[in-house]
């Protein structure tokens, strides 16, 4: 193995102990780069080695890893990626969540591949990074500011504008350790899962502010990198599977999922679009062109994905907001019965500014709306507030109560599972969550069994495998019957690892919708390694197994890998009416365990699996 690390790495990990205001750098070794890559690969290793079981999510000794990867900052589309890894507040287990924007590029140009935060500051601080100047600075002037206000305030304080400065903050929700607080940056990019923002707030870290650095990165084969990146860009534009993503990002999801019964409507109480709602106003083209809009691309990205838009009507007419992703349209909209695109778009940005996960918020508010309609939660409990289906203003009132932990908002700030358990009674049966404590992505998974299984068995506070991408490359069929439990389990297990590989590169998953072979071509050109598709699969499965081992050590057992009663219920209408995931659950989980080589009784990866993946050193720790 080479004795020098590839020039596409900045070469150092930035370590920050907030308790003692101690800042130092840890050099990478060539072996670390090759075996951990970056992102979740690096983060999983740090969690396993530095966060023992007694260090819970709110212990100062918990680590908050904010990592890039070997491709961040390079001239390929979507290379501003941030991966956050920590022990999260919802599951009290591992977290793997991404945001894009410019974090990855700006951090690497400053000379660092990742930031690892530990300890708890005696007073609120923000981390300032400008090349070799790294300081914890007083953040008292930033307290009480939302995500956009925090970025604006720091831009003014530091006299920087635009992409000269990347600010990632957990907003007011993080200050109050809301269990589903997120980390938000660059106006609209959110690492949202498993309460990573609560961990940031627990450390009394208001923000990380990175001035675009002045250092260079060097790739081993610039021509090879350029050609491979161009080929990926070409495929994103012209391949049938990605053209719509290139043009409209995730907007086409609303209409498509509604036809599959997978658009979550009113807290899973129906899958039928309400009368009077014209779905032609919900096509991607309508959602984009119904507003004045402009592109808001991430680092080096040519996709027409991220946009900002101007509200065209209503009480907030003229306000500039972030164009919702599909999950914004569902979480801030359909899940709560709100079908007015202008209202949804406005509420979605309030959620980003408040800094909570939009999916969890949608399930939470939809649950409150249903419970108030049924009389399970009273107007008095909500401090006199009436929260009816589709009322975005009332939803925002609850949002502001939640992020400040005011009144009933203090209960809701615990997330869907805990809030529903506190309220109890019939209300508890209406709540959508996993028994681990997290919640699904923004779909009705009763029509997407793959994703329900992935959510429940995932080790990162959300899905592990994600929707299949180029799955035939991994020996999987191009399509399956989505209600065949065996086929579903084999697909989810068989594609496991690809997403972990992508989440270690410092790129966006929407610009890596190509073959693993092509991604390996880019990685090899950047690093000078011969990195093959098989290497990528092994790497991804190794990282997934390490995250799983961490969770087992945290006490997350297979008994918790189940949907709540409502989450696993049978749709009463719509295209998936009558499909009963619960009846097939045990069989599906068994097949999944068999496919991935884990023990269904304990959840542990079997010794043979660990040894095959190069994790033999974990065998004694897990199996004695």
């Amino acid at each position: 193995m080479s004795t020098t690390i590839p020039g596409c790495y900045a070469g150092k990990i930035l370590r920050v102990d907030l308790t003692n205001n101690h800042i130092w750098t840890q050099p990478w070794t060539p072996e670390m780069c090759r075996t951990l890559l970056g992102g979740v690969g690096l983060g999983a290793k740090i969690l396993w080695e530095e966060v023992p079981p007694e260090v819970h999510w709110d212990d100062p000794e918990n680590r908050l890893v904010m990592a890039t990867g070997p491709l961040a900052g390079l001239p390929a589309w979507g290379t501003g990626g941030l991966t956050v890894v920590t022990r999260g507040a919802l599951t009290n287990g591992a977290t793997n969540t991404q945001a894009n924007g410019f974090f990855g590029a700006n951090l690497k140009y400053s000379g660092y591949d990742a930031i690892v935060l530990q300890g708890r500051a005696p007073n609120w601080v923000y981390l300032y990074i400008r090349d070799d100047t790294v300081e914890l600075r007083d953040a008292s002037a930033l307290l009480g500011k939302d995500t956009w206000e925090t970025q604006q305030a720091l831009e003014q304080m530091l006299n920087l504008t635009g992409h000269q400065l990347s600010v990632y903050t957990s907003g007011i929700a993080g200050e109050n350790q809301v269990r589903f607080a997120a980390i938000h940056g660059d106006y609209g990019h959110v690492a949202s899962k498993n309460g990573c923002g609560a961990v940031m707030g627990n450390k009394r870290l208001k923000a990380v502010a990175i001035v675009r650095g002045s250092k260079s990165l060097q790739v081993t084969d610039p021509r090879g990198l350029w050609l491979a990146a161009e080929e990926i860009a070409h495929d994103l534009r012209f391949d049938p599977s990605t053209q719509s993503l290139y043009e409209y990002g995730t907007l086409p999801g609303v209409v498509g999922l509604s036809r599959l019964g997978a658009l979550p409507i009113k807290n899973y109480t129906t899958n039928v679009v309400p009368e009077g709602v014209d779905m032609d106003t919900w096509t991607a083209s309508s959602l984009r062109n119904g507003f004045d809009h402009r592109g808001h691309q991430c680092n080096a990205c040519g996709m027409h994905h991220c946009h900002t838009q101007v509200l065209s009507s209503g009480p907030h007419k003229g306000e500039i907001v972030d164009e919702p992703e599909y999950e914004g349209w569902s979480g801030a909209g359909w899940a709560t019965g709100c079908t007015n695109p202008v209202d949804v778009s406005w509420l979605n940005t309030q959620i980003d500014r408040a800094c909570v996960d939009v999916n969890e918020f949608g399930w939470l508010i939809g649950w409150v709306m249903e419970c108030q309609e049924k009389g399970y939660i009273t107007k008095e409990q909500l401090g006199g507030l009436e929260v009816k289906w589709g009322d975005a203003e009332a939803a925002n009132t609850l949002l502001q109560m939640i992020i400040r932990r005011e009144g009933f908002g203090n209960i809701l700030a615990e997330g869907v599972k805990r809030a529903s358990e506190i309220v109890g009674g019939p209300a508890a049966e209406c709540a959508i969550y996993t028994m681990k404590g997290d919640t699904p992505r923004g779909h009705d998974h009763r029509a997407r069994w793959e994703e329900m299984l992935d959510t429940c068995t995932g080790s990162g506070g959300t899905i592990d495998s994600g929707p299949p991408v180029q799955q035939t490359e991994l020996g999987q069929p191009p399509r399956i019957n989505p209600f065949d439990p065996e086929a579903v389990a084999k697909m989810v297990g068989g594609t496991r690892g690809r997403r972990h590989f992508e989440d270690s590169l410092g790129t966006c998953i929407f610009t890596t919708r190509t073959t693993l072979a092509m991604l390996c071509r880019v990685l090899s050109a950047a690093t000078g390694w011969e990195f093959t598709k098989d290497d990528a699969v092994t790497f991804g499965r190794r990282t997934a197994a390490l995250m799983r081992a961490f969770n087992v050590r945290c006490g997350i057992t297979p008994a918790l890998e189940r949907p709540s009663k409502r989450y696993g219920s049978v749709p009463v209408d719509g295209p998936a009416r009558g499909q009963d995931v619960g009846r097939n659950w045990e069989h599906m989980v068994r097949v999944w365990y068999d496919t991935v080589g884990y023990d269904p009784e304990t959840g542990k990866p079997f010794p043979a699996t660990l040894e095959e993946l190069g994790l033999a050193e974990l065998v004694p720790a897990l199996w004695g």
Binding site: Q243, Y248, G253, R259, T283, P575
Partner: protein, 111 residues
């Protein structure tokens, strides 16, 4: 074989094929709303045969709909028959009847 942009009544001896949103790009549309085709049924027509006949008229749809190596459906487009995903009530080889409704919608991409 009229091609109105909105659904209309299906005449006897026909099935309806609705092309939804983005997939209309592959049949000369703008990628939004819908296009609806009414396809005459022939003896022995199955889901596969009807879709093949339609895609035979639209090379871009053909490329997106079928896997070139196997001739089976590729992963890019979801097929519904009478609002149910393929394999629930119909397979590619299932016979079609007058008034059956097919729909082609884009693959879910995440996010």
């Amino acid at each position: 074989m009229a091609t109105p942009d909105v659904p209309s009544a299906t005449a006897a001896g026909q099935v309806e094929i609705e092309i939804v949103a983005w997939i209309t790009k592959f049949v000369g549309g703008d990628g939004s709303t819908r296009k609806v085709y009414h396809e005459p049924l022939k003896d022995g027509d199955t889901v596969r045969k009807v879709l093949r006949r339609l895609s035979g008229r639209f090379p871009q749809l053909h490329k997106a709909l079928w896997a070139p190596d196997t001739g089976d459906l590729a992963e890019h487009i979801e097929v519904l028959v009478n609002d149910a995903v393929l394999d629930l009530t119909h397979t590619l080889e299932s016979p079609l009847q007058t008034g059956d409704r097919l729909a082609l919608i884009g693959q879910y991409l995440g996010g």
